[in-house]
């Protein structure tokens, strides 16, 4: 796995951990900033689906349900991506 991909995955995970801890309803300023940075990184890498989900979380006017859904969707994407990468690593020895 390339360093860039590893960095992107790690920062995604750290971001999610911050949001899962403080909650989608009341994110800390640190959690918001980390997500903002990560969303920019994702957009530049062409990951527009996850960037759109991050945008919902960062939107102050979004409904609580939409934010919770976006956080859970982001989490599912992250877990899927990590497992597929792990499987590829395992396969290539």
């Amino acid at each position: 796995m390339s360093d860039t991909l590893q960095h992107w995955l790690d920062s995604w995970e750290q971001c999610l951990d911050l949001w899962l801890e403080c909650g989608a309803a009341t994110p800390s300023p640190q959690a918001r900033q980390r997500l903002q940075d990560w969303a920019e990184l994702s957009a530049s890498a062409g990951w527009h689906e996850v960037q759109a989900l991050a945008a919902v979380l960062l939107d102050n006017s979004a409904a609580a349900t939409a934010k919770a859904d976006a956080l859970l969707d982001l989490l599912s994407w992250q877990q899927c991506t990590r497992r597929i990468i792990e499987a590829n690593q395992l396969q290539t020895g």
Partner: protein, 559 residues
């Protein structure tokens, strides 16, 4: 009426009746008795009590009267004997008529050129033949992406329908649904209806979304919504804002999910709640990885269940109740290893692990007690191993034996019960190495495990049973900080695979001592049975039993 004038549709159906078809309708015993009776009948209609008429065929056998209404089909059969449906008189009657049908020549002009009966344009008639309630149930089940294998053969449509268990359906080309059989033995059933609808769907004649737009019942959708709302509330307030009330509502939802036939969702939620309860009670620090890995598969499955048709089968998304045992007979197994274990949830037990060469599947039999129960009754897995038996066979005699479960009970996840009436036979010869399902290529094992991971990236695979051929071992290493013992193993090509033990209890500590002693004695592993699992991105083996180089005897490491 002469046999040559037999209704051609009836004659075609009779000619299609092979042993498999007759067994599916009746059973092997009735077929054997029926054949014997048929063989005792005179060859010509004139010399028997049988008549072949334009509207019906009749016979009198053993003092009972048999009738078959033309154009035939099992539903058109009757016998005056006390048997409920099938009997050996009817089998003999059918076999006799079949002999007569052999001489009936089909008029080429009447040969069927239209579609087979399951693809008939007359859907109303088909619905009536299948039974309206079964037809409607099948329509909804088809939206749940059930596993259906279709085989359109020259004589019949054969279908394997998986609905908790696998059922075999056979619909003959001549008489269609009215002469169809299913291994569930019911005259009408949802499996036949599913086979017909799946065949129609495959032929582009049926659109599952045309009549219905919901795959689940409204009660099931309600449960999916309740679970989703609970997860939304959890991530809305975050782990820092956990409350007792939220967790109690989660506990109630575990029961609700089980009752809605969503056992996998109940189990995932239960695992999540266990971690959250520990966190709230201050018993352990919640690791975010534990939260992430439990939330994602649950949320992913709930979202999939909102789709119509379902993207995967309902069973793979919501699970199936595993503790529903069904009768199993004549199951040939190799007993590979035995294991004493103790779980973090407070149970201890003895498990026997068996391999079925015919199917390539793994089975197990377990005797378990809670730790309190075991202590109170002076029971231990070791004592069970030495003194107790399963189906009439002592546990300690079974490893590396070929056994036959003459009669037993099996759950959907291949657990074999020990209930009264279980009968097991063993030929007492040691299974040779060539009969074992040996894995000699560790790189291939990794690739296969990776493919399983890719199949469902949201839910990591559980431990997988494996028998390894080992070419070389290295000295064991003990990590005292993490309490992990490990020993590098290599295949013939030099591919590594570590054997590891997490020293979580006395049972694993005893295994470690035994393995260290083997190394000190200069004994090297030759063949090993154990469990494969993933640690980070590395595949590892939890050893259960092994045989050392140059030795014939297997060592059950925990016993």
């Amino acid at each position: 009426m002469a046999a040559a004038q037999m209704n051609t549709e009836l004659a075609t159906w009779l000619r299609e009746l092979d042993d498999e078809f007759l067994t599916a309708w009746a059973n092997r015993g009735l077929l054997r008795r029926g054949r014997k009776l048929a063989e005792s009948l005179p060859a010509t209609p004139a010399a028997t009590t049988c008549t072949i008429g334009p509207d019906e065929c009749t016979a009198t056998l053993d003092g009972h009267q048999q009738t078959l209404q033309v154009p035939g089909g099992f539903e058109q059969l009757s016998c005056s004997c006390p048997a409920a449906v099938a009997c050996h008189h009817l089998i003999a009657f059918l076999l006799y008529l079949q002999k007569q049908a052999a001489s009936v020549v089909n008029d080429p002009a009447e040969a069927e050129t239209g579609p087979p009966p399951w693809l008939s344009d007359d859907l109303t008639a088909l619905e009536k033949q299948l039974g309206k309630s079964y037809y409607k149930r099948a329509q909804q089940l088809l939206l749940q992406a059930p596993e259906i294998e279709l085989d359109d053969t020259a004589g019949a449509l054969l279908a394997k329908v998986t609905d908790n268990e696998q059922y075999s359906v056979r619909i003959p080309r001549s008489l269609g649904v009215r002469a169809a059989t299913c291994s569930c033995k019911a005259e009408r059933c949802v499996h036949k209806a599913l086979a017909v609808l799946a065949a129609r769907q495959q032929a582009g004649l049926y659109d599952p979304l045309a009549d219905l737009n919901e795959a689940l019942s409204s009660a099931q959708y309600d449960v999916v919504e309740q679970l989703q709302d609970w997860l939304r509330e959890l991530v809305g307030q975050g782990s820092a804002g956990l409350s007792r009330a939220l967790l109690e509502r989660g506990e109630a939802l575990v029961t609700v999910a089980k009752q809605a036939d969503f056992p996998l969702l109940a189990s995932l939620l239960s695992g999540l709640l266990e971690r959250l309860n520990d966190e709230l009670a201050g018993r352990s620090f919640l690791q975010m990885e534990q939260l992430r890995s439990r939330l994602a598969p649950l949320w992913g499955r709930l979202k999939a269940l909102r789709q119509t048709p379902l993207p995967q089968s309902l069973q793979s998304l919501a699970g199936t109740h595993k503790r529903h045992y069904r009768l199993v007979q004549e199951l040939e197994l190799l007993v590979i290893g035995a294991e004493a274990w103790q779980s973090a949830a407070g149970f201890c037990g003895l498990s026997l692990h068996c391999y079925a060469p015919a199917s390539g599947e793994w089975y197990r039999h377990t005797q378990a007690r809670s730790l309190q129960q075991a202590e109170a009754s002076d029971w231990s897995p070791q004592q069970c191993w030495q003194h107790e038996s399963w189906g009439g066979q002592r546990f300690y005699n079974l490893p590396l034996r070929r056994i036959c479960v003459r009669r037993g009970w099996q759950s959907r996840d291949n657990q074999l019960s020990g209930r009264d009436g279980t009968l097991i036979e063993s030929d007492h010869t040691i299974v040779s190495e060539t009969a074992l399902p040996l894995s000699t290529d560790f790189a291939r094992l990794r690739a296969e495990y990776a493919r399983t991971m890719q199949g469902d990236p949201l839910l990591p695979p559980g431990p997988q049973a494996v028998v390894l051929k080992i070419a070389r071992t290295e000295a064991p290493v003990f990590d005292s900080v993490n309490q992990v013992w490990s020993q590098p193993l290599y295949d013939a090509a030099g591919q590594p695979l570590p054997a590891r033990l997490l020293l979580a209890n006395a049972a694993t500590a005893a295994m470690q001592k035994r393995l260290d002693r083997l190394w000190r004695q200069g004994k090297h592993w030759d063949v090993c049975f154990g469990w494969l699992s993933l640690r980070g991105t590395e595949l590892q083996l939890h050893p259960v039993s092994l045989r050392c180089v140059g030795e014939g005897k297997w060592i059950q490491l925990s016993l």
